[in-house]
Symmetry: D3
Subunit: 274 residues, 6 copies
């Protein structure tokens, strides 16, 4: 469904993290969904084009976030730190920042948020497990812990106020898989866009947790409990089989980066830097 | 598989509710499955054609039902009240009627019944849930309760006598979805026919509960436990996407007809008529 | 806790089936719970004593039931047929009767009903199984099916109107076990009374299903999901061990009455009478 | 088992929150478990007695916490905010503070932490549900969310470093229940002490989640998955039955404080203060 | 219940492994259950006393086992190797021997066998797990694997022929616990005897798996699914608390004998002998 | 993916059972996966071709198996008895033989084994059930029991030594289905080869159990828990619909070969031969 063929159902969607890797990709794809897309980031962004508003904002600034939310109908929350960092950075951007965002959304009457959670909320599950939305969390670092925080916070806002959230545990959304592990976690840009579309436009989503991966041959995730979203991925990492030819080399038994779903994240925690 | 290419494996199939909406559709499609299709309804039916018998029958009349069942091999039980009604009507048609039907089938040595149950047996589950055959029932009205009764009764007859039943919790089987909710519950006539075919011709079905929906993009139902039936729907309500364009309008938080799977049924119970 | 030491918290409790076996037992025990206990049955009852009202009533008479419910705060629904009978009798007393009771209770603003369901709703589970509140039902006859009906109906009234019900799947409540099977299903009168007390006086019960058995040594039932009721049985059928001494006689492999939890009920269905 | 009869197996246990309600209770009870009990709080504490060290410490001060942890074998982490507060307070004491504590414990080679989590991590589950350690979390406010954070953080430290934690979801630990709800959540001081003893002295605990309640008649919690801890509560809130006599008053249907396990917490979130 | 107070319900019970540790204990306790107890072992046994028959038998000798089974009503199968050994020994005694026993029992019309399985069928589950009858097996050596074989074989004989078996996964049945691990796995002789009594005298047991431990404070096992047996242990290893005083010494992180339920068995497999 | 387009990642793969039905098929298909394919069987094999070694070996000969394993990287274990036989034959080939194979593989440092297990490990589940990797086993004869043994043994070697195994519960791998039952259990040679490829070349498989069937319309198996393998069957028995036209003939109620998944195997056990 191209942007041309659909009306612009929302008055204003807020996209946080608009200067980030996925933010820049999404900016090109969601214009058709709203009269205005408000773009926000702590970093520099390209100037606003037609149908856009560009607002630089530090999510850890409560007042600024409240202002940012004015007039917004729905939020795609991709802002904050998106890889493993020192806890001091994570707490500002991802914990205080996400709290500020939800509190502002609640005060401004926003009805729905799509929260960019991460597979790293579950990274200490094994690569030989298949997990679903109710499997207990196993974060693989401070980043993953902050994503669990966001999931719990959004659950609370839903239970308490009815503000709906879809938490997407995003796998690896890049033009192509960079490692063999990403053959399993790969999420094409098209499938990401479709998953956002489902999350935004279903009449009811309540508080839903869904894994954001394409229809890859190998699967660590069972999305049955999110079947009501209607997400049916079209792409598969199998298109990149040539990048990772068959190999007889098995990883060492104690190579944590191939034991756990989180891959190299599981050994990147800040606790070992000193 | 067209009717022309298969033999007529049954001597006589009984279709109850033959004058109803689905009954008239099925009449056109199941002729190839039997030498004789006996058609029954409380209302008027078109005259019998070749390979048909037409028998007007009130299912709440025990003696009449016993007579109706003579010589029958298998039953497609679509008779009775098919929408929400006063309990007094439901009890006659759907409770006493279904008892009469099973008792007669048992006495006449019928081997298998396909029972038209309904998604309304589960209508008080939420639209954000995905349910399966063992999820506890949540009927959304007198009609749904009568369908639970039929499921329980048929379970008993199977456990006690070996008479097999497939209970199909039919979604919304119409030429096209009439509401956005029906985009999820839609069951095409072709897929319904295929599901009946699977239910009738598998060598063993025991007592199976299956959700009767097409391969729609959104799914509230998980049919894994009925995978032995071999039902693989071919159609999808996605063909009707144009009827329900993307919209930014979310339903009110307390709009029960969009909270629960039963949709508007959940507020139609007779208890509120007075 | 004796009746003397508690206040009478309810203004009026209705006990249906007051002339039945358990009804007569309960009449002696629940006086302390209400200013007035209204006693109802289709049969003859002893004259009203202080704090009692005696109202003869056929539950299948809708108008009579509505009248019976006037001024009632809570209901102990023990009325109807309590063993296997012809379906024609069951439908009047247990299906239409229970519908009339719930509809009247809803109209009169009753807040809570304790429904005497039965282990026979589950009687086709095996004696080597341990089942809980969410195990799919396996009724063992028309009586058991009617109890499933009551459970489904009460679930609907709770989901639709908030009218709370505790469904007690009563085992065998007699002065002492009459058969070896009843060593497992035995429910002492004291424990039954305590379970009713829990069911009536907890601030919230929603719609709860609980197995009504004493703390017998053998258990087919797992009441974990009803732990919020606070029912802790004090008695055990072990007190009657002398009635069923150790025996080396195993039942025949195909003796259905010892294979299934329902015991002899499983072969008493009316369908085999003719 | 009195303190006199056991040896002092630990060299030094750290008790945080020693000036709080439970901290003061525990100070009197755990002396026998260690040569030295180091007591810490942000507030004033009574002077150190024999076998005690008193160290005033703000848990949000990373360097101070590292110093506090020197020479410590095991930690009872009762510090931080223990009721619903503004998020700004919670994030300092319970999120940054708990991170500081775990990071310091890891650096100092502490082997085990007992973390005072709370039933408010699960407070949006209904009072008619029975939940266990793997039931998805439903925090009922900022306080509950911070407890979820501590549980997730401790899980990470166990998966990454082997540092063991027992998370105790404490109910209501007071001399006696103050409300009817606390009849279910009551945890006597003796049972709390025994649960801490089990948590500290089992040879292996891994990362265990356990509900901290006494053997109360009503139960919302199923501790089967923590049976390896060996916690067998001795007390019951039934000893306080006289405080809450039988009552026929049911709460209003929409009284959230009796619908949800969190009780009045569910309506105390800071989001409604402005 | 002493032997004196019960009649002798069986004509002849066969006890294999009668010269082993538990065999000698049981010989003293089961005399009252049968007119004749036939005792069998590959090793020397004390001479037959009144009501006993002593038959030396190598279970791997098919013909001898068939002869041994003549006239037997029920079997307590405690024979074979009972600790970790070379596979070559295990296969003779526990695999071929157990096959011979079941085949002979089937041919001789034996109705029930109590099979001494072992916790070592599950020994590679962690000491922080709580497992039940349906948890997938994790044998911790050749001995444990042979016990899985016996469980599977007996399941087959039940499914195919109706020959009933109770598989008791025995913990550690000694006069007192020898190690701290055995505080969890301890099974007193009295409780063992009671569990055998339940297993032999229940009218129906089908094929039941039950963990044989006393009511110890710590529990790795959930016997809910065997509640129909009526086994209620009376003893607890808590009586031996004095043998294992509180200690602050935690095992090393990689000490397999304290990580896994099988304890030292997990490192005793024959594969490491060479 | 043809053999020509892939490199030969292994130095040497051992295929046992190379003279058997599937062994001969696989010999033609796996040449591209290794520099050398070592072929082994107890029976005669065709002479070695380029890239092959042919070694006649009785798996029950421990020393011979150890020699056979020298220089091997990975094993496809298809050797042993592959249909129901007398236990005496099964124990030699499938129990002692499989033990010898694993012990040799462990000693020689083999990293991975693909074990040809069988649907007959589960054959006493009903044809109306859908089972997965954790469903308790229900072997349907001595052959099925020996497959359970291999699964348990391989689980032990993985837990104890890290030697990985994929157990494939093979359905019916023939050129075409021979019976109606095989329409459900059919596994095409192409899909078998693909499943072996997935099992051999995934970087981590741990100990995985997977059902080996094609994408047949009817399914008794749920492979969700093995989704990490990436097996996506391409074929379906629907291509053979013409062999089994629609039929109105239902099997007799007590025809075990159509009640149970094991089909005719369930009545072929050796115990009925004498």
């Amino acid at each position: 469904m191209t942007n041309e063929t659909i009306s612009k159902p929302f008055k204003r969607i807020l996209l946080t993290g608009a200067a980030g890797g996925l933010g820049r990709v999404l900016r090109e794809r969601i214009g058709g969904w709203a009269d205005v897309v408000r773009l926000s980031d702590i970093g520099e962004m390209d100037p606003a084009r037609a149908g856009e508003e560009v607002v630089k904002c530090d999510l850890s600034d409560k007042a600024a976030v409240l202002k940012l939310m004015e007039g917004v109908d729905a939020v795609l929350h991709f802002g904050g730190v998106s890889t493993e960092h020192a806890f001091e950075d994570i707490v500002q951007a991802n914990i205080i920042g996400t709290y500020n965002l939800y509190e502002a959304a609640h005060k401004c009457g926003v009805k729905r948020i799509v929260f960019a959670s991460s597979n790293h909320a579950m990274g200490f599950h094994r690569q030989t497990e298949v997990i679903d939305a109710d499997t207990p969390v196993r974060p693989d670092g401070m980043y993953g812990i902050s994503k669990c925080f966001g999931e719990n916070l959004s659950r609370y806002y839903f239970d308490r106020t009815g503000l709906e959230t879809v938490c997407i545990r995003i796998g690896s959304s890049f033009p192509e898989p960079k490692t063999r592990r990403m053959m399993v976690t790969y999420l094409s840009y098209d499938d990401l866009t479709e998953l956002l579309r489902c999350s935004l436009f279903q009449p009811r989503v309540g508080h839903t947790i869904v894994y954001g991966v394409s229809n890859n041959r190998e699967q660590w995730y069972d999305n049955t409990k999110a079947a009501h979203l209607g997400y049916r991925p079209k792409d598969s990492s199998a298109a990149f089989d040539h990048l990772f030819p068959l190999s007889a080399e098995y990883p060492a038994k104690d190579d944590a980066s191939t034991i756990y779903q989180g891959g190299p994240f599981v050994t990147q925690g800040p606790i070992y830097k000193d």
